[in-house]
Amino acid sequence: MARLELEGLSKHFGPTVAVREVSLHVRDGEFVVLLGPSGCGKTTTLRMIAGFIAPTAGRVCLDGADVTARPPWKRNAGMVFQSYALFPHLTVAENVAFGLEMRKVARAEIAPRIAEALRLVRLDGLSERLPRQLSGGQQQRVALARALVIRPDVLLLDEPLSNLDAKLRETVRVEIRELQHDLGITTVMVTHDQEEALIMADRLVVMSEGSVRQVGSQRDLYERPADSFVAGFVGRSNLLPGTVIGPGRFRTEGGMSIVCVDGAPGPGVIALRPERLVLGAASAGLDNRVSGTVELVSYLGSSIDVHVRVSPADRVVVSQPNRADGALPSQGDTIDVGWPAAAAVVLTGERGGAGT
């Protein structure tokens, strides 16, 4: 177990920049998730930590020691691959033993450590099976046991849940989180699934196009997204492009005037979470209140999405909890939409783009 530090890590493949100056400090025992769409550089970053890819620039440090030049077999990083990558010709026990044999662990010590690792992932009793005789979930646990048994400085998880079916994924992600927490092992996971990321992480790193967009807790990312990419990728946001015209004043491109909390003057984007918007009479007294036309109502079960056109150029989605007494607006209705100034996050110095 150790601290992990990435300093200005970059990777160029010819003219393409896969990863651009990623710096990140992972504390001892922390669970950090690299989150982003495919091609954002998160897997390349993870593979640079493991040592499979040599960075073009920057350093990887484990517990203060620079390991950038060390090959994977000298790094003591336990990795769980998306495909699990179990050795097909070896039994479960032999798979788990492999790392210990490579470390020249004494014979007498190997057996109890295998047993302990398999018990940890609740696979005791299957040690003599071959990987192909196991279900996907069991294979995944063998991969985890194999990575943990070597007592790695850092555990690396490359989309470890993406090959499991949805039901299993929900239980396994909690199991992995609890196991990681109990063992206090420094962990970096890569995923494109924001729900998975939010559930498992201590801290999240949102990446896009090779760069880190924001590092922070779930609450940081959700409440104070650094840019419109984060606002649109983590949860949903209504993004309204426009200009900050004065302290706490924003004007959308559609001509709507919005009261907000902060924001430096100049072009920017307002991000509004759909569930922070209020419809109808309940919006009375809020800092912002505009009248619009209902264009679409989507019934989603636990909530209802109401799409409201609030200016010729601006449409917002309002997410309402589904209550027994709630009367649904219908298409074409004129309705008031309101929200407090604090709900409007101003993202300055960039174009609008991603979002709902």
Partner: protein, 259 residues
């Protein structure tokens, strides 16, 4: 559908059935119906030095060609599967080429080459066992490359990375992980290489030296003067040898999954 398959199977098996039947005929000139059955032709083989010598030479050449073919074919297949380089496709085709060149043409060219090489170097290349083996390696390589490539095609490279992340340097990874994982392809390649070499006639005819003939050539030479069931008996032994090799191989790997 199944009747067509049955017909095809019969078409393949019928000559084999006749050869086996013929091997047990008592009379020296094969004619139907048989005048009785005997085991004597099999005993005659053991007493005939030319068949015994031919068998041992064929076995020796086939084993050597198979081993050398693997030593070249496995790295070549790995290289073709793993690396992207300009000459990749031409090289891949070049390695399969001996399969497409008729045996007679291959034999003639090698013969001319051996003559020239013998003259140029003064070494006894022409008609030597080494030259014969080299020729057989040539016809074994397409099979080893092809079959090992096929098993590499379904190989997940992340298992090698997993081994490395667990502390195995590249060579350890290769011998402990990669090689065992592609073992079915290698076993199949060994078998096919052996069979192709052991049964080769056309090319070998140009490469054997005086007093050194392989089994298929011995059979052909014998047939020029006699047509008694000795040949059938030899063929039965050959069928048994190759059949046994296939059955044993099938124990280790399902051949139908690879070929």
């Amino acid at each position: 559908m199944s009747s067509a398959a049955g017909l095809a199977l019969g078409f393949i098996l019928l000559p084999l059935v006749f050869v086996v039947w013929l091997a047990f005929f008592r009379q020296a000139i094969p004619s139907f119906p048989p005048q009785g059955y005997s085991f004597k032709w099999f005993l005659a083989i053991a007493d005939s030095p030319r068949f015994v010598d031919g068998f041992w030479l064929s076995l020796k050449v086939a084993v050597a060609a198979m081993l050398i073919g693997l030593a070249i074919g496995v790295p070549a297949a790995l290289c073709l599967a793993r690396y992207r380089f300009g000459a990749r496709e031409p090289l891949g085709n070049l390695l399969l080429l001996p399969l497409m060149v008729p045996g007679i043409v291959l034999g003639t060219s090698l013969y001319v080459f051996h003559v020239e090489a013998t003259i140029a170097t003064g070494l006894p290349i022409l008609g030597s066992i080494a030259a014969l083996m080299a020729g057989h390696v040539l016809i074994v390589i397409p099979w080893t490359v092809r079959l090992v490539s096929a098993s590499l095609a379904g190989f997940d490279r992340s298992i090698e990375e997993a081994a490395q992340s667990l502390g195995a340097p590249p060579m350890t990874t290769f011998f402990r992980i990669t090689l065992p994982a592609i073992r079915p392809g290698i076993v199949a390649a060994a078998l096919f290489g052996f069979v192709v070499s052991f049964g080769n006639l056309e090319m070998s005819m140009f490469l054997v030296g005086p007093g050194r003939t392989t089994l298929p050539i011995t059979i052909l030479q014998y047939l020029e003067y006699r047509i008694d069931p000795t040949i059938a008996a030899v063929s039965v032994l050959q069928i048994l040898l190759i059949g046994t090799a296939m059955v044993i191989t099938d124990r280790f790997v399902k051949l139908s999954r690879i070929v």
